[in-house]
Structure formats: structure tokens, C-alpha cells
Amino acid sequence: MAVSPELAGRTFPPTAPYAVSAAKIREFALAIGVEPAEDAPPTFPIVVAFAAMQQLMHDPEVGIELHNVVHRDQRFVQVRPIRAGDALTATLTVETLRQAAGTDLIGTRTEVTDASGELVTTAYATLAHRATEVSV
């Protein structure tokens, strides 16, 4: 089933604040093989953005079937690197929705902000949702 065309333009509620610890930055850095540093690696915001994406994907009103979703592209526009002590909130907006050939292309923009409401990173992602069951 295709997602509702009304999804375009919808903004989801902000995620609960995520307290960034030095230990989490270190764990992420080691997982991608870099020397842990004060600044988190450039793709670290996905940890927070992912929670916002989960909100979109699990919303029963949206109608996404999880096993039919593919992460198509990802882009980060970084205002400043994330550091330990940040309390980050992610707010996802569905910017575009294109429906063609049985696939929903869901273009999202997620704003990651700190405790004072300042923008830290904007994460853009496109999710491809196969809207029709394909028998394998």
C-alpha cells in the first residue's frame, strides 16, 4: 500500500532530548575506526536523526511497511560538530513525496537542535518505500 499523499509537508513532534556523552562519541568513533576526539564524527547526527526517522516509519497513520523501506540517500549540513554535554532534539519534516512506479520517495529534512534551540545539523534523507508487494 502506498503512503498517504497527505504525508507531504507534515512535521513530526520533536524527539525527546538526547544527552550526548563522551562515552557515546567514543563508542561511535571506535565503531568507524577513528581516534576518539572531542568533536563527534560527521555522520554522528544520524544517532539522533534515526529516532526521528523511526517515528515516521512506525506511525500507523503513515502506513509504511518497514521491510519495504530502503534508505536511498543521506546528507548532513553541519553548523557545528556535536560534543559531549549536548542535549539534542530532532524534528523531522516530510519535505517531498513523489509516488511513481509503485514506489514512494519520501524526502525528509530533520533539524537537530541543542538545548538552547540552536541548530546544530540539518539531516536530509530520502526513504524509498516499495508501495506494492512484489512476489519473489
Partner: protein, 134 residues
Amino acid sequence: MTGLGPARFRVTRADLVRYAGASGDFNPIHWSDRVATSVGLPGVIAHGMFTMALAGRAVSEWAGGAANIVEYGVRFSRPVVVPDDESGVEIEVTGELGETSDDGTAPITVTCVCDGQQVLGMAKAVVRRTDPVA
């Protein structure tokens, strides 16, 4: 244009497990052959975000630190299949550094190859130049 790299990274199943834990992405196609093959994949594949992170690791080094990356984006064009063995698979990252703009930033076009095929499409970073050259 200035050529950057290549940087080479080896990816094993253990790396995927570690990345799953660190990132919070526990999609079983990244650790279970049973689930991966049931959705039509040849086997367990790397998280696209893990491949992006490895290419980003190269970009951070070229840029003189993660703080110099203004923008970084990729398209996940082809899955990186990671075999269940000791050696895993290798990905190779190269870059082309473009002209520095008036605002002090420069584009890097990133190429990421695994098994002779590009796995990231339209991969590009914009970095802040910390040195006056180029």
C-alpha cells in the same frame, strides 16, 4: 582539481555488529543472512550509513578534521555485501578537491568503490579550507 586518497578500509561482520550497537540501527539485514536473503539480498550487507561513515573518515582526514566539514551527502547506490569470514570486504575511497570559493570552502567529489563497483553515488562534501593554498 587535486586527487585525494586512495584510503582503503576493510569491513568484516564484526565491524557491522559494532556499528549497529554504536548507531542504534539493528536492522537484521546487517547481521542475519536468513533475513537478508529473505528480502532478496545476496547476504548480509553493510549499513549504508557505515559505508558513508568510512568515506566520511577519509573526508575528515583530507579536510583536517571533522569540524571543517560543512556539508556531506551520498546516495546509497549499491549494497556492500559482507561475507561471513575473517577478511570481509575492502572499500576504497578517493576524492577530487575542487576550487576554493570566496567563502573559503571547497567541494570534494567522493568515489567509493567495493569489488570494482561504485557503492555510493553523487557523494560530495563541502569543506572549509584551513590553509590558504588550492
